[in-house]
Subunit: 199 residues, 4 copies
């Protein structure tokens, strides 16, 4: 019950975040309805696409993570709000990168928010494991950190550093991380299937 | 469970898309509260109405499609996000058409996003059938493609081509497709009823 | 199941409508943080308050109406979308009235949208009764139209006419209707209680 | 059932409120993508953070409060809408404080909306207790008011008064109240656990 409402609230916030990001792609006011009016929107569109994938990733993994848990408590609720806080900054950082995709500051801040969201995710995971016990499916599933989990924060960090020297390389780093994460967390899915098979 | 949350998230995103489109119809700032201030809003209102019907159609059919399935997996989740991505561009294309309803570019892009959403729909349908098996109600229901399914992509395509030569004809094409789709997919409803009667 | 998703989608749309109306009350950009900066917001605030009550009313009664039904079908879904369409215009009419509360056009359009939403409500009610049968709780509950149901459309109409001659009187009419409706539909609640007592 | 829909609607509204507040943090249009462009956003960011915590608090406590109830009635629905009305003004007051964090008027209005939301909360709590009976878990849980409940309105009031003389002190007061409330209401959680243990 409690878990359901936390899921519903998170779904609501993520649905809004993913949708209001597109509001930045505004109708060109001075345009005359030509295709060339869309040119300034190309970087905005691409930054929207990247952030859409990131929010989709978080929604997808959030979904899988909660499926393998039974209990939530006060700490989990706040850890979840903490994650949503960083994700709620995506529309801002996305818009700023879309506006200045070759400047250091927007790209560094974009990476910083990604990094903070990744930390918030780890905290949420930990509070969920604490609330559900070491023997829970989730705890077992995440026992062995995969390579991508270990290196993601470092890629974000590399991206942040890069943004000061070779801005376009930062974008490459952020895109690579999205791609390596796009496969849903197989471990949790497998663990769930195993537990169903055993049960 | 998993299916429910995918439905809830899709409902959230579709509810937001359908509602934020109306934000484009802004209070005329320079107006003095006369009826004539509404004149520039007539094309915007009509483009909003058309897109409202399209989002309503997608919601309605999404609803019917998922009702006849039991399982969703990682691929389905991403196919669903892919559909939502194209639908999330509706507010932009709707606003652009509302601003320049007699220009080629906005009408062509409007049709292109409709076409991409239609493709995304077909992909989602396919992943759902793959996840639920060939013997599922859904698979049987969509076995025989109806005429409207076969011709819709071609009408969108015709609309896109038309927008370069006779813009208003493109609008007619997009409107016709909405009208022929407004009847909910009888096949799925019938198949569901049959399966209930048999069960 | 089907009913639940229609409720969830309607809740989503109504939640967004009620919340984005407040976006019209924007921070005074030229202001210097004085109380007097709020003066131009007084009519906007009051028009927001009135519309908030109306959306609250629709949500509340929607809630009661659906509680007393079991089935929804394709027609109900479209009748519901039709109602949501008119309600989705509230943010626009509210903002326009807030900007020009003493002009005829905004007040007449505000009343017109109220009237159309009232008609859409009656259509939705009728499709629900058709879908659930004459013996349904809902059909019985609404058998005898109450006075307020009979006169509401006429008050809206009176408000629309008034807005051309005595604008402030139109506001009074719209406010009165909200007040007489603020009590939830006792008949349905009573009928539900009776049916529970009998069952 | 009825309770679930009220929760879902509240979740929707709160999710939108918490997310649209961030829209105030807009991309600096005249900026050139430098870190210094973010400087004017520091107070906006901090006021967003404070309001995010407040909405999170209301969501969290709303959640706990409803978990310990079974019934809702017409009065509860309106008391809930009344609370949502005041919370819906958060994006406005947050943006105004973010714009003029050292002015009296925005800080006083910010505190006034906090105070009104606190009153709306007390009214909602009372209507819920009336609807569920004196012997309900909720009624027992809130029997003995904790210190923080008793003093919160006075801290808001102190903040409002302060804002006219020492603006920054008002911010301190509002922040302190958020911090003392951030711990979820242990009494209700304990009462729920007790009732489960007894049941």
């Amino acid at each position: 019950m409690e878990k359901n409402r936390m899921e519903a609230f998170s779904d609501g916030v993520l649905a809004i975040i993913i949708t209001i990001m597109v509001l930045e792609i505004k109708v060109p006011e001075t345009g005359e309805g030509r295709f060339s009016d869309l040119l300034p929107f190309v970087p905005k569109f691409l930054s929207y696409l990247l952030s859409f994938v990131y929010v989709g990733l978080y929604w997808n993994n959030h979904h899988h993570m909660l499926q393998s848990c039974k209990k939530v408590n006060g700490k989990v609720l706040w850890a979840n709000l903490h994650l949503l806080f960083w994700l709620s900054l995506f529309p801002f950082t996305t818009a700023w990168v879309g506006e200045h995709h070759d400047s250091s500051a927007p790209l560094a801040i974009y990476g910083l928010v990604l990094l903070m969201a990744a930390f918030a995710w780890i905290i949420l995971l930990q509070t969920l494991i604490d609330a559900n016990g070491r023997n829970n499916i989730l705890a077992k599933a995440v026992e062995n950190k995969t390579l991508k989990e270990k290196i993601s924060p470092f890629i974000y960090l590399a991206g942040i550093v890069c943004s000061f020297f070779i801005p376009w390389l930062a974008i490459i780093f952020y895109t690579i991380t999205a791609i390596i994460w796009i496969v849903p967390d197989q471990r949790i899915e497998r663990a769930l299937n195993n537990s169903e098979a055993e049960g």
